[in-house]
């Protein structure tokens, strides 16, 4: 496998996502196709990650967790970015669609983030000798995760749907803004995490497998969000009488 191959698959997956959003006719089967692709890629990721890729220079086989750990955290960040995008869109123009999408992105993001942080902790034990450490990326991901758990709690504790949508959108923006500040503050405090790698410092097969892992997780992220979004939409329409949305209040000069 070359580092280009995952990018070709990525283009396919992105095309399927865009098709799902733009063409209602493909919605019944596009997510199934992406899910099946993800399952096939996951099985091949076991082979590529565990046998095909060379062991890491310093960490040997422990480093192989990279191929699932890093993609999980990337997907969490992607989901939270989608969430905050929906939050901004909701505050600009009220819509139940962006509210439902924000809810599903946050929940799926919390799942990916929690698994990613746990795998990072498992990796840290043999590598650093500790389960937990003062590292900017570790702390900022965890803080982000806590903030989004608070976000989900706020959603479940607010009954009025319109209040819930507005308040959680505000909470999402406030939490997302804190991410870079957390990162900087912890970096100034102390740092131990290895310097972020880029493709030029990493062996080619490892780049290829990492990208393969990322595209695999992207497939699952897409399927999870699509299904969770459908649940959110049917909850909105079935469980409550939706009140008519009032027009944005005119600003008083």
């Amino acid at each position: 496998m070359t580092p280009i191959l995952p990018l070709v698959v990525l283009a396919l997956v992105v095309a399927a996502m865009l098709g799902h959003v733009a063409v209602p006719a493909v919605r019944p089967w596009a997510w199934k196709a992406v899910g099946a692709l993800g399952a096939v890629m996951l099985v091949s990721l076991w082979y590529f990650g565990l046998y095909w890729a060379p062991p890491e220079q310093f960490m040997s086989d422990v480093g192989r967790i990279l191929y699932v750990h890093v993609p999980h955290v990337w997907m969490a960040l992607l989901a939270f970015t989608l969430n905050v995008g929906c939050a901004v869109a909701y505050l600009m123009k009220k819509s139940w669609v962006t509210d439902a999408l924000a809810e599903s992105a946050a929940e799926v993001g919390v799942y990916f983030g929690a698994v990613g942080v746990m795998m990072g902790s498992i990796w840290a034990r043999p590598t650093w000798g500790v389960w937990w450490d003062w590292d900017p990326r570790l702390i900022s991901t965890t803080v982000m995760l806590l903030a989004y758990v608070g976000y989900l709690a706020l959603r479940s504790f607010t009954e009025d749907p319109e209040r819930r949508a507005t308040w959680s959108a505000a909470a999402a923006i406030l939490s997302y803004v804190s991410l870079p500040i957390v990162w900087f503050s912890v970096r100034w405090w102390n740092s131990l995490h290895q310097v972020q790698s880029n493709p030029s410092t990493v062996d080619k097969p490892m780049v290829a497998v990492l990208r393969w892992g990322a595209v695999t997780m992207l497939c699952f992220l897409f399927v999870f969000i699509v299904k969770r979004y459908e649940i959110a939409r049917s909850r909105q329409t079935a469980a409550m009488e939706l009140p008519p949305l009032e027009a944005p209040r005119a600003e008083v000069a």
Binding site: L91, V143, A147, A153, F157, A169, A170, A171, S178
Partner: protein
């Protein structure tokens, strides 16, 4: 009647909050005794070793302030929930943003007074040296109190009407305040203890940046939040 400007209206809201506070002084008294108890508990939990206590005093001081701020911020919009006072406030012909500025200043000033009260207590309990750089110390306390109040005011407006509001506020607020806590504790440490590498300046910058970012985000978000109250 002439319509007040943004800052004029904010001043009126601030004056109203101070007046409510001054009539009973209940909130200030409550948070002062609450944080006194917290600081005392820290010194019990850490044992009588004065060297450890002195080294960790900035952390205890800010945790005491942070815990007290949750009580104080929660109360800030609870008084408005009675008789739907906030609805009345939002319906007045002033910008809702003026309410935000007034409320932030009200909360920040209350916390700032609390932090000044806690300083002599920190001397008594943890034997810290306030004379090293008192002006910077007061600046750090002020910036930290504004930093807690800026996101805290938005979250308090949200959680005042949510179910389980007492749990909701810290759950939402604490993750956001992590960088503020780091910066405020470090900056306070370098005003109380020697600062050989001159790190105080960069922490002060981080505190200022945090305040400015959250003041502007809150300024933009608050009208949307207040509309739903």
């Amino acid at each position: 009647m002439k319509r007040p400007s943004l800052l004029g209206a904010a001043w009126l809201v601030l004056k109203k909050d101070w007046q409510i506070e001054w009539r009973t002084r209940a909130r200030l008294t409550a948070i002062i005794f609450f944080s006194l108890a917290t600081l005392l508990l820290f010194s019990f939990a850490m044992g009588p070793d004065i060297v450890t206590l002195r080294a960790h005093a900035p952390g205890y001081l800010w945790l005491g302030l942070l815990f007290a701020s949750v009580l104080s911020l929660g109360e800030s919009f609870r008084v408005e929930a009675e008789n739907q006072a906030l609805t009345g406030l939002v319906l007045t012909p002033v910008e809702p943003r003026a309410i935000f500025i007034g409320k932030v200043l009200g909360n920040a000033s209350l916390l700032f007074v609390l932090s000044l009260v806690l300083l002599p207590v920190a001397v008594a309990l943890y034997d810290v040296d306030l004379g090293r750089d008192p002006l910077s110390l007061v600046l750090v306390l002020f910036l930290g109190c504004v930093g807690i109040s800026a996101p805290g005011t938005v979250y308090s407006a949200i959680s005042a009407n949510a179910r389980a509001r007492d749990v909701m506020l810290p759950l939402l607020l604490f993750p956001v305040l992590v960088p503020l806590l780091l910066a405020a504790v470090s900056a306070t440490k370098f005003t109380l203890q020697p600062d050989p590498q001159e790190q105080l300046g960069s922490w002060l910058k981080l505190l200022t940046a945090f305040d400015l970012i959250y003041l502007s985000v809150g300024f933009l978000l608050f009208p949307k939040v207040a509309e739903e109250d």
